[in-house]
Protein backbone atom coordinates (compact mmCIF):
# COMPACT_ATOMS: atom_id res chain seq x y z
CA UNK A 1 0.00 0.00 0.00
CA UNK A 2 1.24 3.43 -0.98
CA UNK A 3 -0.40 6.77 -0.51
CA UNK A 4 -1.19 8.57 -3.77
CA UNK A 5 -1.64 12.30 -3.75
CA UNK A 6 -4.35 13.33 -6.18
CA UNK A 7 -6.55 16.36 -6.70
CA UNK A 8 -10.01 15.22 -5.77
CA UNK A 9 -12.91 17.63 -6.25
CA UNK A 10 -10.49 20.51 -6.26
CA UNK A 11 -8.56 19.53 -3.13
CA UNK A 12 -5.26 17.71 -2.69
CA UNK A 13 -5.94 14.43 -1.03
CA UNK A 14 -4.00 11.29 -0.14
CA UNK A 15 -5.66 8.04 -1.09
CA UNK A 16 -4.52 4.49 -0.40
CA UNK A 17 -3.06 2.95 -3.55
CA UNK A 18 -2.78 1.20 -5.83
CA UNK A 19 -6.40 1.91 -6.53
CA UNK A 20 -8.85 2.08 -9.42
CA UNK A 21 -11.58 4.68 -9.73
CA UNK A 22 -14.07 2.07 -8.52
CA UNK A 23 -11.81 1.44 -5.53
CA UNK A 24 -11.59 5.16 -4.87
CA UNK A 25 -15.38 5.41 -4.78
CA UNK A 26 -15.45 2.49 -2.35
CA UNK A 27 -12.89 4.22 -0.12
CA UNK A 28 -15.18 7.24 -0.10
CA UNK A 29 -18.31 5.11 0.55
CA UNK A 30 -19.87 6.35 -2.67
CA UNK A 31 -22.09 4.23 -4.88
CA UNK A 32 -21.03 4.33 -8.56
CA UNK A 33 -24.71 4.55 -9.55
CA UNK A 34 -25.14 7.78 -7.61
CA UNK A 35 -22.26 9.72 -9.13
CA UNK A 36 -20.42 10.56 -12.34
CA UNK A 37 -16.63 10.51 -12.40
CA UNK A 38 -14.34 12.66 -14.49
CA UNK A 39 -10.71 11.54 -14.61
CA UNK A 40 -8.16 14.05 -15.93
CA UNK A 41 -11.00 15.83 -17.76
CA UNK A 42 -12.30 12.62 -19.36
CA UNK A 43 -15.70 11.28 -18.30
CA UNK A 44 -15.43 7.65 -17.25
CA UNK A 45 -18.28 5.28 -17.95
CA UNK A 46 -19.52 3.32 -14.94
CA UNK A 47 -18.48 0.08 -16.57
CA UNK A 48 -14.90 1.32 -16.91
CA UNK A 49 -14.45 2.54 -13.35
CA UNK A 50 -12.97 -0.78 -12.20
CA UNK A 51 -10.42 -0.77 -15.03
CA UNK A 52 -9.12 2.77 -14.61
CA UNK A 53 -6.13 3.03 -12.29
CA UNK A 54 -5.56 6.21 -10.34
CA UNK A 55 -2.03 7.65 -10.57
CA UNK A 56 -0.29 10.24 -8.41
CA UNK A 57 -1.10 13.73 -9.61
CA UNK A 58 -4.37 12.75 -11.27
CA UNK A 59 -7.27 15.15 -11.21
CA UNK A 60 -10.54 13.47 -10.30
CA UNK A 61 -13.96 15.06 -10.13
CA UNK A 62 -16.91 13.24 -8.59
CA UNK A 63 -20.25 14.90 -9.24
CA UNK A 64 -23.92 14.22 -8.66
CA UNK A 65 -27.28 15.94 -9.05
CA UNK A 66 -28.29 18.54 -6.51
CA UNK A 67 -31.27 20.86 -6.31
CA UNK A 68 -31.30 23.52 -9.01
CA UNK A 69 -33.55 25.58 -11.22
Amino acid sequence: MTALTITLNGERRDVAGPVTLAGLLAQLSLSPEAVVVEHNRRIVRRGELAQQAVAAGDVVEIVHFVGGG
Binding site: L8, N9, G10, L28, S29, L30, A34, V35, V36, E38, I43, R45, R46, E61, I62, V63, H64, F65, V66, G67, G68, G69
Partner: protein, 272 residues
Protein backbone atom coordinates in the same frame (compact mmCIF):
# COMPACT_ATOMS: atom_id res chain seq x y z
CA UNK B 1 -77.67 25.70 -26.24
CA UNK B 2 -74.85 23.31 -25.39
CA UNK B 3 -74.81 22.07 -21.84
CA UNK B 4 -71.55 21.87 -19.97
CA UNK B 5 -71.53 18.08 -20.12
CA UNK B 6 -71.88 18.10 -23.91
CA UNK B 7 -68.97 20.43 -24.45
CA UNK B 8 -66.02 18.13 -25.18
CA UNK B 9 -63.46 20.43 -23.60
CA UNK B 10 -65.46 20.41 -20.37
CA UNK B 11 -66.49 16.77 -20.38
CA UNK B 12 -63.05 15.28 -20.96
CA UNK B 13 -60.76 17.89 -19.52
CA UNK B 14 -58.96 20.38 -21.70
CA UNK B 15 -59.15 19.54 -25.40
CA UNK B 16 -55.48 20.26 -25.97
CA UNK B 17 -52.64 18.88 -28.01
CA UNK B 18 -50.15 16.86 -26.00
CA UNK B 19 -47.06 18.67 -24.76
CA UNK B 20 -44.21 17.10 -26.73
CA UNK B 21 -40.52 18.01 -26.60
CA UNK B 22 -38.10 16.11 -28.84
CA UNK B 23 -40.56 13.24 -29.24
CA UNK B 24 -41.17 12.89 -25.51
CA UNK B 25 -44.73 13.60 -24.31
CA UNK B 26 -45.03 15.25 -20.92
CA UNK B 27 -48.20 15.23 -18.84
CA UNK B 28 -47.80 18.72 -17.38
CA UNK B 29 -46.93 22.03 -19.01
CA UNK B 30 -45.55 23.17 -15.69
CA UNK B 31 -41.90 22.31 -15.02
CA UNK B 32 -40.31 23.05 -11.69
CA UNK B 33 -36.86 23.47 -10.23
CA UNK B 34 -35.55 21.81 -7.09
CA UNK B 35 -33.30 24.56 -5.73
CA UNK B 36 -33.50 26.85 -2.73
CA UNK B 37 -36.23 25.06 -0.78
CA UNK B 38 -36.02 25.41 2.99
CA UNK B 39 -36.26 21.64 3.45
CA UNK B 40 -36.28 18.60 1.19
CA UNK B 41 -39.68 17.59 2.57
CA UNK B 42 -41.14 20.92 1.54
CA UNK B 43 -39.58 20.58 -1.91
CA UNK B 44 -41.08 17.15 -2.45
CA UNK B 45 -44.51 18.26 -1.22
CA UNK B 46 -44.42 21.34 -3.47
CA UNK B 47 -43.41 19.32 -6.53
CA UNK B 48 -46.23 16.87 -5.82
CA UNK B 49 -48.70 19.74 -5.50
CA UNK B 50 -47.49 21.33 -8.74
CA UNK B 51 -48.31 18.22 -10.74
CA UNK B 52 -45.05 18.69 -12.65
CA UNK B 53 -43.38 15.78 -14.35
CA UNK B 54 -40.20 17.57 -15.43
CA UNK B 55 -37.96 18.69 -12.58
CA UNK B 56 -34.67 20.46 -13.08
CA UNK B 57 -31.49 19.53 -11.26
CA UNK B 58 -27.94 20.85 -11.20
CA UNK B 59 -24.59 19.04 -11.46
CA UNK B 60 -22.23 19.74 -8.58
CA UNK B 61 -19.28 18.17 -6.80
CA UNK B 62 -20.15 15.56 -4.22
CA UNK B 63 -19.36 16.96 -0.78
CA UNK B 64 -16.79 14.36 0.25
CA UNK B 65 -16.77 15.33 3.89
CA UNK B 66 -20.51 14.97 4.33
CA UNK B 67 -21.51 12.15 1.99
CA UNK B 68 -24.65 11.52 4.07
CA UNK B 69 -25.99 14.87 2.93
CA UNK B 70 -26.13 13.38 -0.57
CA UNK B 71 -27.83 14.39 -3.74
CA UNK B 72 -31.32 15.15 -4.87
CA UNK B 73 -32.01 11.55 -5.87
CA UNK B 74 -32.34 10.60 -2.24
CA UNK B 75 -35.49 12.69 -2.22
CA UNK B 76 -36.90 12.43 -5.74
CA UNK B 77 -37.70 9.14 -7.42
CA UNK B 78 -36.22 9.32 -10.94
CA UNK B 79 -38.82 6.81 -12.09
CA UNK B 80 -41.62 9.24 -11.25
CA UNK B 81 -40.02 12.46 -12.44
CA UNK B 82 -38.21 13.41 -15.62
CA UNK B 83 -34.87 14.83 -14.53
CA UNK B 84 -33.84 17.80 -16.64
CA UNK B 85 -30.28 18.71 -15.75
CA UNK B 86 -29.14 22.26 -16.20
CA UNK B 87 -25.82 23.97 -16.81
CA UNK B 88 -26.56 26.73 -14.31
CA UNK B 89 -23.55 28.68 -13.16
CA UNK B 90 -21.65 28.17 -16.43
CA UNK B 91 -20.21 31.28 -18.06
CA UNK B 92 -18.64 29.77 -21.19
CA UNK B 93 -19.79 27.37 -23.88
CA UNK B 94 -16.99 24.94 -22.97
CA UNK B 95 -17.98 24.90 -19.32
CA UNK B 96 -21.65 24.37 -20.16
CA UNK B 97 -20.81 21.51 -22.52
CA UNK B 98 -18.69 19.86 -19.82
CA UNK B 99 -21.60 19.98 -17.37
CA UNK B 100 -24.05 18.71 -19.99
CA UNK B 101 -21.83 15.72 -20.76
CA UNK B 102 -21.38 14.91 -17.08
CA UNK B 103 -25.14 15.08 -16.58
CA UNK B 104 -25.83 12.78 -19.50
CA UNK B 105 -23.42 10.23 -18.07
CA UNK B 106 -25.69 9.95 -15.03
CA UNK B 107 -27.78 7.89 -17.42
CA UNK B 108 -31.30 9.26 -17.16
CA UNK B 109 -31.83 11.00 -20.50
CA UNK B 110 -30.10 13.14 -23.10
CA UNK B 111 -32.05 16.33 -22.39
CA UNK B 112 -30.21 19.36 -21.09
CA UNK B 113 -31.41 22.78 -20.02
CA UNK B 114 -28.57 24.76 -21.47
CA UNK B 115 -27.55 27.93 -19.68
CA UNK B 116 -24.57 30.05 -20.61
CA UNK B 117 -24.65 33.07 -18.36
CA UNK B 118 -23.21 36.35 -19.58
CA UNK B 119 -23.57 38.69 -16.61
CA UNK B 120 -23.22 38.03 -12.90
CA UNK B 121 -25.61 40.71 -11.71
CA UNK B 122 -28.57 39.92 -13.94
CA UNK B 123 -27.70 36.31 -14.84
CA UNK B 124 -28.81 37.20 -18.35
CA UNK B 125 -27.74 34.73 -21.04
CA UNK B 126 -24.69 35.00 -23.29
CA UNK B 127 -26.27 34.52 -26.71
CA UNK B 128 -22.96 33.85 -28.48
CA UNK B 129 -21.85 31.18 -26.00
CA UNK B 130 -25.32 29.68 -26.03
CA UNK B 131 -25.31 29.25 -29.80
CA UNK B 132 -21.85 27.66 -29.84
CA UNK B 133 -22.77 25.18 -27.09
CA UNK B 134 -26.25 24.46 -28.52
CA UNK B 135 -24.86 23.65 -31.96
CA UNK B 136 -22.21 21.31 -30.59
CA UNK B 137 -24.45 19.55 -28.07
CA UNK B 138 -27.21 19.05 -30.65
CA UNK B 139 -24.58 17.47 -32.91
CA UNK B 140 -23.67 15.12 -30.05
CA UNK B 141 -27.29 14.01 -29.81
CA UNK B 142 -28.38 16.12 -26.88
CA UNK B 143 -31.94 17.40 -26.73
CA UNK B 144 -31.09 20.98 -25.98
CA UNK B 145 -33.57 23.25 -24.20
CA UNK B 146 -31.87 26.62 -24.34
CA UNK B 147 -32.44 29.26 -21.70
CA UNK B 148 -32.32 32.55 -23.57
CA UNK B 149 -33.34 36.19 -23.72
CA UNK B 150 -36.76 37.27 -24.90
CA UNK B 151 -35.13 38.10 -28.22
CA UNK B 152 -36.69 36.73 -31.39
CA UNK B 153 -33.52 36.66 -33.49
CA UNK B 154 -31.56 34.73 -30.87
CA UNK B 155 -34.49 32.34 -30.46
CA UNK B 156 -34.60 31.75 -34.23
CA UNK B 157 -30.86 31.09 -34.29
CA UNK B 158 -31.17 28.63 -31.42
CA UNK B 159 -33.88 26.77 -33.28
CA UNK B 160 -31.64 26.74 -36.32
CA UNK B 161 -28.78 25.42 -34.18
CA UNK B 162 -30.84 22.31 -33.51
CA UNK B 163 -32.40 23.08 -30.14
CA UNK B 164 -35.30 20.84 -29.13
CA UNK B 165 -36.96 23.75 -27.35
CA UNK B 166 -36.23 27.39 -26.70
CA UNK B 167 -36.71 28.84 -23.24
CA UNK B 168 -36.99 32.62 -23.24
CA UNK B 169 -37.10 34.34 -19.88
CA UNK B 170 -40.11 36.15 -18.46
CA UNK B 171 -37.66 38.24 -16.41
CA UNK B 172 -34.28 37.54 -14.76
CA UNK B 173 -33.73 34.32 -12.82
CA UNK B 174 -35.04 34.52 -9.28
CA UNK B 175 -36.33 38.09 -9.75
CA UNK B 176 -40.04 37.41 -9.47
CA UNK B 177 -40.67 40.40 -11.72
CA UNK B 178 -43.14 38.47 -13.84
CA UNK B 179 -43.64 38.63 -17.60
CA UNK B 180 -41.90 41.82 -18.67
CA UNK B 181 -42.50 41.58 -22.40
CA UNK B 182 -45.58 39.62 -23.44
CA UNK B 183 -45.20 40.85 -27.02
CA UNK B 184 -41.70 39.33 -27.38
CA UNK B 185 -42.79 36.02 -25.92
CA UNK B 186 -45.85 35.92 -28.16
CA UNK B 187 -43.74 36.71 -31.20
CA UNK B 188 -41.16 34.05 -30.37
CA UNK B 189 -43.96 31.51 -29.96
CA UNK B 190 -45.55 32.53 -33.24
CA UNK B 191 -42.32 32.34 -35.22
CA UNK B 192 -40.69 29.17 -33.87
CA UNK B 193 -41.60 25.62 -34.77
CA UNK B 194 -39.97 24.00 -31.74
CA UNK B 195 -41.72 24.28 -28.36
CA UNK B 196 -41.33 27.54 -26.48
CA UNK B 197 -41.10 27.15 -22.72
CA UNK B 198 -40.84 30.32 -20.66
CA UNK B 199 -38.18 29.96 -18.01
CA UNK B 200 -37.45 32.24 -15.09
CA UNK B 201 -38.95 35.33 -13.56
CA UNK B 202 -42.53 34.43 -12.66
CA UNK B 203 -43.34 35.43 -9.10
CA UNK B 204 -46.92 34.47 -8.51
CA UNK B 205 -49.90 32.72 -10.07
CA UNK B 206 -51.07 35.66 -12.19
CA UNK B 207 -47.60 35.84 -13.79
CA UNK B 208 -47.81 32.19 -14.76
CA UNK B 209 -51.35 32.56 -16.06
CA UNK B 210 -50.48 35.63 -18.12
CA UNK B 211 -47.44 33.82 -19.51
CA UNK B 212 -49.46 30.79 -20.59
CA UNK B 213 -52.08 33.10 -22.13
CA UNK B 214 -49.42 34.16 -24.65
CA UNK B 215 -49.72 30.67 -26.15
CA UNK B 216 -46.38 29.26 -25.09
CA UNK B 217 -46.07 25.51 -24.68
CA UNK B 218 -44.93 25.44 -21.10
CA UNK B 219 -43.34 27.25 -18.22
CA UNK B 220 -40.49 26.49 -15.82
CA UNK B 221 -40.21 28.02 -12.39
CA UNK B 222 -38.30 27.51 -9.18
CA UNK B 223 -37.96 30.51 -6.89
CA UNK B 224 -41.65 31.43 -7.07
CA UNK B 225 -42.36 28.16 -5.28
CA UNK B 226 -39.27 27.82 -3.10
CA UNK B 227 -39.49 31.36 -1.72
CA UNK B 228 -43.25 31.52 -1.24
CA UNK B 229 -44.22 31.65 2.41
CA UNK B 230 -46.12 28.42 1.78
CA UNK B 231 -44.38 26.65 -1.10
CA UNK B 232 -46.91 23.84 -1.30
CA UNK B 233 -49.87 26.20 -1.49
CA UNK B 234 -48.10 28.29 -4.13
CA UNK B 235 -47.38 25.13 -6.14
CA UNK B 236 -51.09 24.35 -6.01
CA UNK B 237 -51.85 27.90 -7.19
CA UNK B 238 -49.32 27.66 -10.00
CA UNK B 239 -50.77 24.40 -11.22
CA UNK B 240 -54.18 26.03 -11.51
CA UNK B 241 -52.71 29.16 -13.07
CA UNK B 242 -50.89 27.24 -15.79
CA UNK B 243 -54.01 25.24 -16.59
CA UNK B 244 -56.17 28.36 -16.59
CA UNK B 245 -53.74 30.31 -18.73
CA UNK B 246 -53.53 27.50 -21.22
CA UNK B 247 -57.31 27.11 -21.33
CA UNK B 248 -57.79 30.86 -21.78
CA UNK B 249 -55.31 30.87 -24.65
CA UNK B 250 -57.11 27.97 -26.33
CA UNK B 251 -60.48 29.58 -25.67
CA UNK B 252 -59.40 32.78 -27.44
CA UNK B 253 -59.90 35.99 -25.54
CA UNK B 254 -62.40 38.69 -26.50
CA UNK B 255 -61.06 41.76 -28.27
CA UNK B 256 -59.93 44.76 -26.23
CA UNK B 257 -62.13 47.81 -26.82
CA UNK B 258 -61.82 51.43 -25.84
CA UNK B 259 -65.60 51.73 -25.38
CA UNK B 260 -68.13 49.96 -23.20
CA UNK B 261 -70.68 47.57 -24.64
CA UNK B 262 -73.57 46.75 -22.29
CA UNK B 263 -74.02 43.15 -21.26
CA UNK B 264 -77.73 43.55 -20.53
CA UNK B 265 -80.29 44.26 -23.26
CA UNK B 266 -81.05 47.88 -23.99
CA UNK B 267 -84.46 46.82 -25.27
CA UNK B 268 -87.28 46.38 -22.74
CA UNK B 269 -86.29 49.07 -20.30
CA UNK B 270 -89.19 50.75 -18.42
CA UNK B 271 -90.35 54.00 -19.92
CA UNK B 272 -88.38 56.91 -18.44
Amino acid sequence: MTSIAEHPAQASGLDDAPFVVAGHTFRSRLMVGTGKYRTNDEMVAAIEASGAEVVTVAVRRVDLDRTKDAGILHHLDPKRFFLLSNTAGCYTADEAMRYARLAREAGFNDFVKLEVIGDRETLLPDADGLLVAARELAKEGFKVLAYTNDDLVTALRLEDAGCAAVMPLASPIGSGLGLLNPYSIRTIKRRLSVPVIVDAGVGTASDACLTMEQGVDGILMNTALAEARDAVLMAHAMRGAVESGRAAYLAGRMPRREVAIPSSPEHGMLKR
